[in-house]
């Protein structure tokens, strides 16, 4: 029996494809996590008579629109960063990453201020099921974005040490998938929670 024996480089590439495949699987499970939260949100908002205040009376759609734009822009800057990584322009890649971080952080800043504002106005997470599901769904997305920010920050620090090595390129691919995925989830949040909720 003759086995196929791979040389080192082939092995690394083979590993990379496997790893990215695994990350896609993770994204799939995260999709299901968000799908469950959306289902919970819809059940608690549309199946019953509303109990007390609803989001409609408090939401400020223009803020949410700014949030959306910030997140979409951060996706664009991330793509610029990864393009620079491919060309081994590390410094430029870092700068674009930093901009991505700032855009994402502004998104989180606006979201948190919105939460504080809502709670202050009387739309707290513990007043009824509608509010609970709103804060949980949007908050889970925000938590994901915050983890993404932490990840971006550690990539900015890591790039000078590990350069444009295999391992860094792979992580940038993962992070790109993750960041894009959060954008897509946000589109659904924007549509289902805010636009439909404000109607």
């Amino acid at each position: 029996m003759h086995g196929e024996v791979m040389n080192i480089d082939e092995h690394a590439i083979y590993n990379d494809a496997t790893d990215v495949f695994g990350f896609w699987l993770y994204i799939l499970t995260d999709c299901i996590l968000f799908a469950s939260l959306f289902a919970v949100f819809l059940v608690l908002n549309y199946s019953d008579m509303p109990h007390g205040p609803t989001l409609k009376h408090y939401v400020n759609l223009s803020d949410v629109f700014i949030e959306t734009m910030l997140l979409l822009a951060s996706n664009f800057t991330y793509c610029l960063s990864i393009l620079n990584m491919y060309q081994k322009k590390l410094l430029k890649a870092q700068v674009w990453l930093l901009l991505t971080f700032l855009l994402g952080a502004s998104f989180i800043f606006i979201e948190v201020s919105e939460f504080i504002h809502l709670a202050h106005e009387g739309f707290r997470w513990d007043i009824n099921a509608h509010a609970s599901s709103f804060f949980t769904l949007v908050g889970t997305h925000g938590l994901h974005v915050s983890i993404g920010l932490l990840w971006i920050l550690s990539m900015i620090i890591q790039i000078p040490f590990l350069k444009a090595s295999h391992i860094v390129m792979r992580r940038m691919t993962y992070l790109g998938l993750f960041w894009n995925f959060l954008d897509i989830v946000w589109i659904f949040v924007f549509t289902i929670v805010y636009l439909m909720g404000a109607m």
């Binding site: 003759h2 496997t18 299901i32 996590l33 099921a129 609970s132």
Partner: protein
């Protein structure tokens, strides 16, 4: 103030000094732990345990650690059984038994949680880790480090669950913690919080393991092993792991929402302010029903391997077997509502789910007939794995039929939450899952440890187990039909008592079976030289795991095999390729690329355990320490680039040569 931040709600009152049973168990556990630590120190094995086991990313060792975890938790789950069965045997009429209701409630909850999450799941992952990479001709799983992390997270979850025995209490809500009972206003203690966080930590471990095995099966198969040339165990594992990936995120969400209700005063499942209790019950069963298939599918895979090997015949109807598994995988997601027909969803909804449930009997029946036809005209060897398979056929058929009975909604309204249901699911979980895993355990034991299990004590254990099972559960069917509900610590009608005494005797027989299994392990270890598996192929096997030495060398396959048929090893043996393996000196070996060991998985899991414990007791500082610890470990690990090494070709050659020598000696004998 500082004490509040450090210890949260935890005070010394949380430790039940006044309860002799709990303190006895606690002292017993502490003594065992001290004894183990003492012997490790005396024999100077700390470095060995840290380097070779705790840090190990080798799937074979992780599999063995899963086995040990499962075994230890099994002892705890079974002591719950002893308590419950003896309580119910005496607590009739005037007699209130010896367990107060609030303690009894914790015991049946812990029994269910432990047996499913910390016995059956680890045992499944043990068998998957031990056998699956070898069956597909791989050198490891796709992500060895993630594999280690998965195990340690499961371990941390189990330890969190164990901590509840001594510090505070466990949920007294039943194994799925239905609200509103599990809401803060009915369960103000920490029991439900222990439940939530031990399952969250273990659940993340399971989810990661699921992703890992899907990727392993998709990407790591030996060249030539196309989909329809995979052993059935690999198919069943793939389907089970797809179920893990699809179902476990739902569990995570459900438990998180319950936690938010309890910690933040939210209203997902409260019965006021718009909360919806049935939402929880739907969500938990959208995870829970696939979960039972996650457990049974690998058992089906094991039966397929064992039947073919011990009938010395090709598996009958391979293609239908694969399709049956795939169809069961799909159907398992459209039947969840049969767990609560009594919710009142209406006749139309109940009929849909009733019929969908009955339909599952068809692919399952196909599988049973395939196994029977495999045995037909086979040269059957009645070794212990095969005995368990035969016991499975009859037991599972009975359990399946009572299942179809309960799939009829009007019947279910009568027997819902009665002992009939309890008898049914034990019938399929013990008769299907556990018997299957026992068969797999005995079957792959030589591959993991290098020697076979002692056969005779195994047969006695088998006899006691199977007879004990019937004695323990058949009476429950009878009184369940008569209206005896589950989860009673006491009953007024003494007419039930004789049945429950018989059930307790059955449990005692099972207990003897378990003691015999422990004796079997002991005897096997004592006679390990005699039971040594010199050939690496003790059962005249059919699949690739039997083509290498037992226990498998660190790198599994010196040369990755190429596959062009199902049962590749069997074909090789028929064509005499296996006879007189090529001498290692005449083969060209390459250096083998291996992942380095890392303790990061264990460290992350320790921090996760701390975080979980802090969340249970609302401890702010330990919670922050735990979370920061996880983040810091992940980031620190990401800076380490030196993660792999090569086993040089000469070492590989020498290892293979040693195996060949042993093989030659035993052929001469």
């Amino acid at each position: 103030m500082l004490a509040q931040l450090l210890f949260g709600k935890l005070t010394l009152d949380a430790i039940p000094f006044h309860s002799p049973i709990i303190m006895g168990a606690f002292v017993f556990m502490v003594l065992i732990v001290i004894a183990v630590l003492f012997f490790i120190t005396v024999y100077g094995k700390w470095a060995y345990i840290w380097n070779e086991w705790v840090s190990s990313v080798d799937h074979k060792k992780i599999g063995i650690m899963y086995l040990i975890l499962s075994f230890v938790m099994f002892l705890r789950g079974i002591s719950d059984v002893v308590l419950m069965r003896s309580q119910q045997a005496i607590a009739a009429g005037e007699n209130l038994g010896y367990l107060p209701p609030e303690h009894y409630d914790q015991i049946f909850t812990a029994h269910g949680v432990i047996m499913i999450f910390f016995v059956a799941m680890p045992l499944m992952f043990a068998l998957l880790n031990i056998a699956l990479p070898l069956q597909i001709g791989a050198r490891d799983v796709a992500y060895p480090y993630l594999n280690s992390l998965s195990f340690w997270l499961t371990f941390a979850g189990a330890m969190l669950c164990n901590a509840s025995l001594v510090i505070g209490d466990f949920a007294a809500t039943g194994w799925l913690s239905y609200p509103p009972l599990s809401e803060l206003y009915y369960s103000p203690g920490v029991g439900v919080d222990y439940y939530i966080w031990s399952l969250q930590v273990a659940g993340v471990g399971t989810l990661l393991a699921g992703i890992n095995f899907i990727a392993t099966i998709f990407r790591m198969r030996a060249p030539g092993m196309s989909w329809m040339k995979m052993p059935v165990f690999v198919w069943s594992a793939l389907c089970a792991m797809i179920l893990v990936a699809l179902a476990f995120p739902v569990l995570t969400v459900t438990l998180a929402l319950l936690a938010l209700d309890r910690m933040m005063g939210m209203h997902f499942f409260t019965d006021f302010a718009g909360g919806n209790v049935m939402l929880y019950i739907n969500l938990i069963w959208i995870w829970g029903h696939p979960e039972v298939y996650i457990l049974i599918l690998p058992a089906f895979g094991i039966f397929s391997e064992v039947v073919a090997t011990f009938s010395q015949k090709k598996l009958f109807g391979y293609t239908t077997m694969v399709w049956a598994i795939a169809i069961i995988t799909f159907l398992s997601f459209v039947v969840w509502l049969h767990h609560f027909f009594t919710m009142g969803a209406g006749a139309d909804v109940n009929s849909f789910f009733g019929i969908a449930t009955m339909v599952i009997a068809i692919p399952t029946g196909v599988k049973v007939f395939n196994w029977l036809f495999t045995m037909y005209k086979g040269r059957i060897i009645l070794a212990t794995p095969m005995l368990w398979v035969i016991a499975f056929f009859t037991t599972f058929a009975i359990g399946g039929m009572t299942g179809v009975m309960m799939a009829v909604p009007p019947v279910d309204f009568q027997v819902h939450n009665s002992l009939f249901l309890v008898a049914h699911f034990h019938n399929v979980i013990i008769g299907g899952v556990l018997f299957g895993y026992f068969a797999g355990f005995i079957y792959w034991f030589p591959k993991a440890f290098g020697f076979r299990l002692h056969e005779k004590s195994g047969m006695w254990a088998f006899a006691f187990w199977v007879i004990g099972f019937y004695v323990a559960f058949m009476p429950l069917y009878v009184i369940g039909l008569d209206g005896f509900m589950r989860r009673n610590s006491h009953y007024a009608n003494t007419l039930y008592q004789p049945y429950l005494i018989v059930a307790a005797l059955g449990a005692a027989l099972i207990l003897i079976g378990i003691i015999l299994q422990i004796l079997q392990l002991f005897l096997s270890f004592k006679y390990r030289a005699f039971l040594r598996d010199h050939t690496g192929d003790p059962w005249n096997g059919r699949t690739l795991e039997w083509s290498i030495a037992s226990p498998a060398p660190l790198y599994n396959f010196a040369v990755i095999p190429s596959v062009n048929s199902l049962d590749q090893l069997w074909v090789n043996k028929q064509l005499q390729i296996g006879e007189g393996k090529i001498h290692p000196n005449r083969l060209h070996y390459e250096a083998i690329h291996m992942p380095k060991n890392t303790p990061a998985g264990c460290i992350i899991a320790i921090f996760a355990g701390i975080t979980g414990f802090a969340l249970v007791w609302h401890m702010l500082i330990p919670g922050i320490v735990g979370l920061l610890g996880i983040i810091a470990t992940v980031i620190a690990k990401s800076f380490i680039t030196d993660t792999d090494y090569y086993i040089d070709a000469e070492t590989v050659r020498r290892t293979e040569l040693a195996h060949l020598k042993e093989l030659a000696q035993c052929t001469v004998k």
